[in-house]
């Protein structure tokens, strides 16, 4: 009886120490799940999900505080990717969130008064300018989050949809009812 108790106690102590050591030795900084979720988010930092940026939303998903269907710029593809990562079933986009075509901000430079409010609002530093000087959007860096629109006192920022060109054209999904490829008679 005593031998059994002593043995069990000794084993428990041993494994306890082992687990304690492993927890310290293999400690992971940060939250790996939130990191992986963050990698799937489009990084527009637009806040349409109700969180102040992609990382906070990733943390909220990781902690089970929010659902995976609130990322508007990511759209269905992001929902599916998140569902895949987290082993959940994909759900339709949250009703309060409307998907938009990708676009970039453009400052109508004639109307800009140089108040710098949009510069402070831009999450990726894509707006260039100084107080009382005209501002401009660096198109390449703009994520299209629209966060610069509300602070502008003269409403001189507009969103321009990204045009489809040869560089970003995607071959259409083939359908069985084939496109009519023949030249129209007038073209000949």
């Amino acid at each position: 009886m005593i031998i059994a108790i002593v043995t069990i106690a000794a084993l428990a102590t041993l494994f306890g120490l082992l687990l304690g050591y492993a927890a310290m030795r293999f400690h992971v900084e940060g939250d790996p799940i939130a990191d992986q979720i963050d990698k799937l988010l489009p990084q527009t930092q637009c806040g349409q999900c109700g969180h102040p940026g992609c990382r906070p939303y990733a943390n909220a998903i990781a902690n089970g505080e929010d659902d995976i269907n609130r990322c508007a710029p990511g759209g269905e593809a992001t929902i599916i990717a998140l569902a895949d990562l987290l082993g959940r079933d994909p759900v339709p986009m949250d009703e309060g969130i409307d998907e938009k075509a990708p676009s970039v901000a453009l400052i109508i430079e004639k109307e800009c008064i140089g108040c710098t409010l949009c510069i402070q609002a831009c999450p990726v530093d894509a707006i260039l300018g100084a107080a009382k000087q005209m501002h401009t959007v660096i198109e390449r860096e703009c994520t299209g989050c629209e966060l610069c629109l509300p602070p502008c006192p003269v409403e001189c920022i507009v969103m321009i949809p990204i045009e489809e060109g040869i560089g970003n054209w995607i071959w259409p999904y083939p359908d069985n009812d084939h496109r009519d490829l023949s030249l129209s008679r007038e073209a000949l």
């Binding site: 930092q45 990726v124 860096e141 995607i170 071959w171 009812d177 084939h178 030249l183 073209a187």
Partner: protein, 526 residues
């Protein structure tokens, strides 16, 4: 060394036999085309970054003058194909499978065909520096004329003499297309000069010219030219007619027995492959100083009155070329850029000929019957038998169709050369290649998005870090200021107190002194 070595060393998997339809367009010599009233020159005629226009609307340009400069290493400049006035730089339909428009330079020609001052010919190229020759090829805007349009100068760059074989791709395996065939019949001598230049630059010991056996006249003329120039270790190799023997990987395998690694290029196994038209253009650039401003284009099909090959200025519209070839016949049904296997149909004939356009096929319904409705895949495996890249087209099809792109890549989607053999043999008429192209462009677009997202994350994190740093610095400054103020305030108090105390002390001392004085006075008076 014999000029012809009819034996090939390897063979590739699959491939298909089909009627070649080459005789129609080879009955007459290559014709010169009269200068069209307008030329449309897209800034993107090559793989890589689009060229940057260096002229503006209203400017007069001369034939051969640089009108758009290369922007980056993988890019190519564009030259004016004839003299005239730049009428606009605007969006115009371009030859592309999307049927979309892109930025073009539009020249209203003046008909004088006046040459600009050209760079001097490099006659003695054997004593010229490689860098000079490569720079000449680069500044002449030469790209792969077989259709891939990859800037040729990059293929020539130094690889520590690791290249031992130069392959000249003259197989021209796609039906209907005959521009390389006609070029070899008529310009074999200049092609041989081009081969000597490329061989000199690469230091390649051996050269193999691969021609399909359905072009006996080209084989004869090339063999004669090689023999006349008494080129060492250069062989004209006749390869059996089997589509797609003109694919770079397939031809390399045929001629050398070596396989180009997946995701690799022929240079990885000591081989450089150049199209025969490119070789001709390189000779033009080095020996005559002429930039790439024209090319041979095959105009063929039952929909055109006189099928033939023409020397077309780059930028000539398809309609203009068709009218040069006698115009449309009543059978014209589709206008295809390229051949029936890998070409794409164009919405109108206003689309210009670019550096990569080798053929305009005005197809009748017999030439290119409308695709039959696709039915379900029956897993017959014919596509796998026909695939020259030894892929599993069915698996690629399933995964591309269900948008399972990771899986499609596991089945080596990017080794697919889009030759169309699988679609051609499919008894269910499934447009297999469409699915692969869809999957490839989707994957590229996702990759681009991911790069953009990573970049945005980096910038956002940098911004957050900066704002935190600024806030922390401000806090630290405030704290310091407060401390200074406090210490000043505290110090001032005690100093004041000390001063007051000292003053009180002094006053007290004075008082006591005065008191003492009066006391003594009093005592004195007493």
């Amino acid at each position: 060394m014999s000029a012809t070595a009819p034996l090939t060393l390897g063979h590739f998997h699959g491939g298909i036999h089909m009627p070649d339809h080459k005789a129609e367009s080879t009955t007459q010599p290559v014709a010169a085309v009269k200068i069209p009233p307008q030329l449309i020159l897209p800034l993107q005629q090559h793989i890589g970054a689009p060229a940057k226009a260096v002229v503006s609307a209203g400017e007069h340009v001369l034939k051969g003058q640089l009108i758009a400069a290369a922007s980056g290493r993988v890019s190519a400049p564009i030259h004016a194909p004839t003299s005239g006035v730049i009428s606009a730089i605007e969006d115009h339909l371009v030859p592309h499978s999307s049927g979309l428009s892109a930025r073009c330079i539009i020249i209203d020609t003046d008909g004088r065909d006046e040459w600009a001052e050209l760079p001097p010919p490099i006659d003695d190229f054997t004593s010229a520096d490689n860098a000079v020759l490569i720079e000449r090829i680069r500044e002449s805007g030469i790209v792969g004329l077989g259709g891939a349009t990859f800037p040729s100068s990059i293929k020539m760059e130094a690889r520590n003499n690791s290249i031992d074989t130069l392959i000249i791709n003259a197989a021209e395996c796609e039906p209907y297309i005959t521009c390389d065939d006609m070029l070899m019949r008529e310009q074999a001598d200049q092609i041989v000069s081009g081969i000597r230049i490329i061989q000199h630059i690469l230091g390649a010991k051996r050269c193999l010219i691969g021609i399909e056996d359905n072009k006996p006249e080209a084989i004869k003329s090339m063999s004669a030219a090689v023999a006349a120039a008494s080129l060492q270790h250069t062989d004209v190799v006749t390869v059996p007619t089997l589509y797609p023997s003109g694919g770079e990987r397939q031809l390399t395998l045929l001629l050398t027995g070596k396989e180009v690694p997946s995701h690799g290029i022929p240079a990885n196994i000591g081989i450089v492959c150049q199209n025969v038209g490119t070789v001709y253009a390189i000779a033009d650039a080095v020996l005559k100083g002429r930039p790439l401003i024209s090319r041979i284009v095959t105009i063929t099909g039952e929909g055109v009155a006189q099928p033939q090959n023409v020397y077309s200025l780059i930028g000539t519209s398809a309609g203009e070329l068709v009218s040069q070839a006698g115009g449309y016949t009543g059978k014209a049904n589709q206008l295809i850029c390229g051949g029936p296997m890998m070409g794409y149909s164009m919405p109108t004939d206003e689309v210009p000929v670019t550096k990569g356009v080798n053929c305009l096929l005005v197809a009748s319904e017999q030439d290119c019957p409308p695709p039959e409705p696709a039915t379900a895949c029956i897993r017959c495996g014919k596509c796998a038998e026909a695939c020259p890249a030894q892929l599993l087209p069915q698996q690629l099809y399933w995964h591309s169709r269900s948008r399972n792109f990771d899986k499609a890549q596991d089945y080596h989607l990017f080794d697919c050369i889009e030759c169309g053999c699988c679609s051609h043999v499919c008894p269910s008429h499934i447009q297999l290649v469409h699915y692969y192209r869809f999957a490839k462009t989707q994957i590229w677009s996702k990759e681009k998005e991911k790069i953009k997202a990573d970049h945005a994350r980096q910038r956002h994190e940098a911004r957050v870090a900066r704002l935190e740093r600024i806030a922390a610095e401000r806090k630290a400054r405030m704290r310091k200021k407060k401390a200074v103020l406090k210490s000043k305030k505290g110090g001032g108090d005690s100093a004041k107190k000390a001063v007051i105390a000292a003053a009180v002390k002094r006053a007290a001392a004075k008082k006591s002194a005065a008191m003492a004085a009066t006391d003594s006075n009093q005592s004195a008076t007493e």
